[in-house]
Structures are given as structure tokens and as C-alpha cells.
């Protein structure tokens, strides 16, 4: 079991969700984050003074997948929809997951995902 952590452009989130759904993966957790990378911050103006805003708003997605096949399907869905070719499209990190529990039923691991 793996956790796919993807940092993406915020406005892509509903497309990504649809693509994941289409791939049969109907579960994910989403959070608003801010990022810094190749894409640097930008300039804003407050009452006569410009200043740097360090971070850019991003959205982070967490999807836990059962197996290699589901992982691949999820990656394809995310990459397909999140890619625009511009700097700042974001990254995907894959982390190992040792156990999964569904709180409602107590189901474990593959069944719980």
C-alpha cells in the first residue's frame, strides 16, 4: 500500500478528482498548502511599497492505493490532468504505507482503502 502525495495547481483539483473517479479511485484527501520551488514567489503592493510574497498557493492531494496497478492508474490520472507544461505544475511523492484501518468498521489494509 502506498500513499500518493501530490502537490498541484489549485485550479486543477476538480479535474483531478474526476479523472481519479474515472479510473475507479473514489477516495482522496485534499489540503491547501503553499509552495516554493522552480516557481518562485511574486510581487505584491501594499500602500506604496512592493514586497515579495514568498510562496505560491498549491493544493496537496493524498491518495492511498492498494497495489501497483491502482498506483499506476492514480498516477496516470493525476499527471494527465495536472500537467500544463508550465513551471509550477507540481510534484508527486510516493510513500510506503504499512497499515490502513477504516474507523467505521475496523476493516484493515486492502479492504479498508
Amino acid at each position: 500500500m502506498k500513499m500518493i502525495v501530490a502537490v498541484v495547481q489549485p485550479n486543477k483539483i476538480s479535474e483531478i478528482k474526476d479523472a481519479l473517479n474515472a479510473a475507479g479511485i473514489e477516495r482522496l484527501t485534499v489540503l491547501d498548502v503553499e509552495g516554493y520551488g522552480k516557481q518562485k514567489g511574486h510581487t505584491e503592493i501594499f500602500r506604496g511599497r512592493e514586497y515579495e510574497v514568498l510562496f505560491t498557493r498549491k493544493t496537496q492531494i493524498e491518495v492511498v492505493v492498494k497495489n501497483e496497478q491502482e498506483k499506476q492508474a492514480a498516477l496516470d490520472a493525476i499527471i494527465k490532468t495536472a500537467r500544463t507544461g508550465n513551471i509550477g505544475d507540481g510534484k508527486i511523492f510516493i510513500l510506503p504505507v504499512e497499515e490502513v484501518i477504516r474507523i467505521r468498521t475496523g476493516e484493515k489494509n486492502e479492504e479498508a482503502i
Binding site: 505584491e44 503592493i45 501594499f46 500602500r47 506604496g48 511599497r49 512592493e50 514586497y51
Partner: protein, 399 residues
């Protein structure tokens, strides 16, 4: 009743508009500070009308208009004020609203680092003693009035007084942590433009009480004053828009808000004495003054979170001075004489000489006796946390 009822009604309504300017200052200042200091700023601006009521009722009013300390807790509304055509109670209420405004101006400049209690004490002293001295000289029949100094609605008496007190405050207080770091001037952006806009709109509305109400009657001058007030405000606002657009390639909304206020402050002295065209010229000037004034103070390492020194102090002075140039008959342009300019400079100078050192002294004593500034930790965490024990927004309440 021996008084003119229409005059009285008008001044009462104008007083309510000026009273409501406290809400305007509260939201303007709240919008221009960081979220973590919002409750503190709101509380200062809310409580200040209470403090002003107390101080002005107890001492300030009699000092200003009777020239003495005779009437602690003023109550003899029968004694009268010379030349007043409305009941003295209405006059008292109108003047009270003005006095509170002066204290509100200070509040923004010292925001985000001052101890609540220090602000309270300073406000009491300002309204009880310092403000009335200038008021007495100019509006209370004092020597500036006799000399011919013109400050119709208070560019000097209210706005410069507040401005000097604010400047003294930020000198003694020092800048917010992080404002000037490693020789760089950093912007500390305000947290809510809707609040700042609300505040500015309320102030704009209030100014239609502030200036035309100062006629203390409802006569043919009132519409002219209203028109002049608006023209100066919008001229200044449009100048600020254009200048910021040129400089930053984008209109700087914070500056636009301040721009409007700058024009309103500047016309306050001369609104009854200039024609509409000159009113808008004064506004144009104000737009430049505020646009260049804000970075000017920053370069002096003076940290004023809401721009009060530029809006109220600089434009209060410029506006007062311009009466000497543009006033019908008396000004340089009509009369060809510099005499009114000199009178204006006297008023400006006297205000500086009295208010700035007095304020410095009071602030300094406060610093000595009780400490004026919150701890560094508290400043980081926010004054809402440390001074007030409450935060402005709780949005995650699904929990």
C-alpha cells in the same frame, strides 16, 4: 425655544455622522493591520469614544470653550457660547465627536505594538488637555482666532493635532519588529481590504458631517462645503490612483483609500473659504503629498501602520497652508498678499510647538512609568493573544 430648529437639527445629524467616524477609523485601521492584532485595534477605537466622552465632559470642553477648569463635569448648558445659534448641548455633542476623532487618529499609528493601557491614558490626556489648548486658541475665541488664522473644520485643530500626537508616539515607541530589517524597509501588509474599504466609506460619509456641520448652522454655505469636500477627496483619490499606476503598473488600492482620506483632510481647513475649482486643486495636491509622504516617513524609519502621519499630519498642514493661497478675497491669489499665508503658518507652527513636545513628554513618561510597548514575544504572537485574550476570527469551527 430661542434657537433655530433647522440649524439645530442639521448640527445634530452632522454630529451623528462624525460620531460614526469612530467606526470608520476602527475598520480602516483594523483592515490595515495584521489579523493577529485586529481585536486590539477594534477595541481601542471602540473604547476611545467612551474615554473621550469622559475626558471632554470632565475637563476638555470647559477648557476649550470657557477657557478654564471651572466646570469639572460640565453641566451648565445655560451659560452659553458666544455667537452660538444652536443649543449648547448639541454643540457639546458635536465638539465631543470631534475630540474623539483626534484620539482615533493616534490609535492607528501606534497600532500593533502599544500596550492597551498606555493608549488609554494617552487618549485621556490628549482629549482633556492637549487638544483643547489648540481648540481654545482657534475655535474657542483664543489668540489664533483673533489673529485671523483660518481652520474652518479642523485640518489643524483635529487632524494635525492627532497627527503630531501620533508622530510623537511612533518616535517614542519604535517600529514594529520586522519593519526595518537589515537596512531594508519591509511592507507589512494589512489583513483585510473589505474592512479597510468599509472604514474608508464610513469616513467619507462622516466627512459630510465633519465639514458642512462645522458651519454650525444650515445656510447657503453648507452645500458649497459639501461639494468642496467631495471634490477635494475624489481629486486626491484619482491622483493617488494614477501615480501608483505609473509607479507599480497597477493601481495600489491601499494608496487609493489613503488618497481619498488625504484629500478630505486637506480640504477641511478651507472648505468654506475656497471655490470648487480650488477645492479640487487642493485635492490634487493632497494626492501627491500622501503618495510621496508615506515612503518619506518610512525612509526616516518611522513606522506608521495605517499612514496616519501622511494622511492627517502632512495633509492637515498643507491643507491649512493652502487656505492662505486660495481663500476667496483673503488668499494670495485673490488678494496678492502673503498675509493670510503667514497667519496660516502661525497656526500650523503653534500647533506643532504645543502638541509635539507635549505629546513626546506624555509618551515618554508613559514609557518610563509603565512601559509603552508589549514584549517581543507578544508582538510576534499578536496583541489579540497577549493583550486581549481573544482572537478576531475563528473559522475552523466545524470542529
Amino acid at each position: 425655544m430661542e434657537f433655530n430648529l433647522v440649524d439645530t437639527l442639521w448640527v445634530l445629524i452632522a454630529a451623528l455622522l462624525v460620531f460614526f467616524m469612530n467606526a470608520g477609523f476602527a475598520f480602516l485601521e483594523a483592515g490595515f493591520v495584521r489579523a493577529k492584532n485586529t481585536v486590539n485595534v477594534l477595541a481601542k477605537n471602540f473604547i476611545v469614544f467612551g474615554l473621550a466622552t469622559l475626558a471632554f465632559w470632565a475637563i476638555g470642553y470647559t477648557l476649550m470653550f470657557k477657557g478654564n477648569f471651572s466646570a469639572v463635569f460640565f453641566s451648565d448648558y445655560k451659560s452659553g457660547v458666544e455667537g452660538l445659534k444652536i443649543p449648547e448641548m448639541v454643540f457639546f455633542f458635536f465638539q465631543l465627536a470631534f475630540a474623539a476623532t483626534a484620539a482615533s487618529i493616534v490609535s492607528g499609528a501606534v497600532a500593533e505594538r502599544i500596550k492597551f493601557i498606555s493608549f488609554i491614558i494617552f487618549s485621556l490626556i490628549l482629549v482633556a488637555f492637549i487638544y483643547p489648548v489648540i481648540g481654545m486658541a482657534t475655535w474657542g475665541g483664543g489668540f489664533l482666532y483673533k489673529y485671523g488664522f483660518i481652520d474652518f473644520a479642523g485640518s489643524t485643530v483635529v487632524h494635525s493635532v492627532g497627527g503630531w500626537a501620533a508622530l510623537a508616539g511612533i518616535i517614542v515607541l519604535g517600529a514594529r519588529k520586522g519593519k526595518f530589517k537589515e537596512g531594508k524597509i519591509n511592507a507589512i501588509p494589512g489583513h483585510s481590504m473589505p474592512l479597510a474599504t468599509l472604514g474608508t466609506f464610513i469616513l467619507w460619509l462622516g466627512w459630510f458631517g465633519f465639514n458642512p456641520g462645522s458651519e454650525l448652522a444650515f445656510d447657503e454655505k453648507v452645500p458649497l462645503i459639501a461639494l468642496n469636500t467631495n471634490l477635494a477627496g475624489v481629486s486626491s483619490m484619482l491622483v493617488a490612483t494614477i501615480l501608483s499606476w505609473i509607479k507599480f503598473k497597477k493601481p495600489d488600492f491601499g494608496m487609493i483609500l489613503n488618497g481619498l482620506l488625504a484629500g478630505l483632510v486637506a480640504i477641511t481647513a478651507g472648505c468654506a473659504d475656497v471655490t470648487p475649482v480650488w477645492a479640487s486643486v487642493i485635492g490634487l495636491l493632497a494626492g501627491f503629498v500622501v503618495f510621496f509622504g508615506i515612503p518619506f516617513f518610512e525612509r526616516l524609519k518611522l513606522d506608521d501602520p495605517v499612514g496616519a502621519t501622511s494622511v492627517h499630519l502632512l495633509n492637515g498642514m498643507i491643507g491649512t497652508l493652502m487656505v492662505g493661497v486660495f481663500a476667496v478675497d483673503k488668499g494670495l491669489i485673490d488678494s496678492g498678499s502673503f498675509s493670510q499665508i503667514i497667519k496660516q503658518l502661525s497656526g500650523i507652527g503653534f500647533t506643532f510647538i504645543v502638541v509635539f513636545p507635549a505629546s513626546l513628554l506624555v509618551w515618554f513618561l508613559l514609557k518610563l512609568v509603565m512601559g509603552m510597548r508589549v514584549s517581543e514575544k507578544e508582538e510576534y504572537e499578536g496583541l489579540d493573544y497577549g493583550e486581549m485574550g481573544y482572537e478576531a476570527y475563528i473559522l475552523d469551527d466545524k470542529r
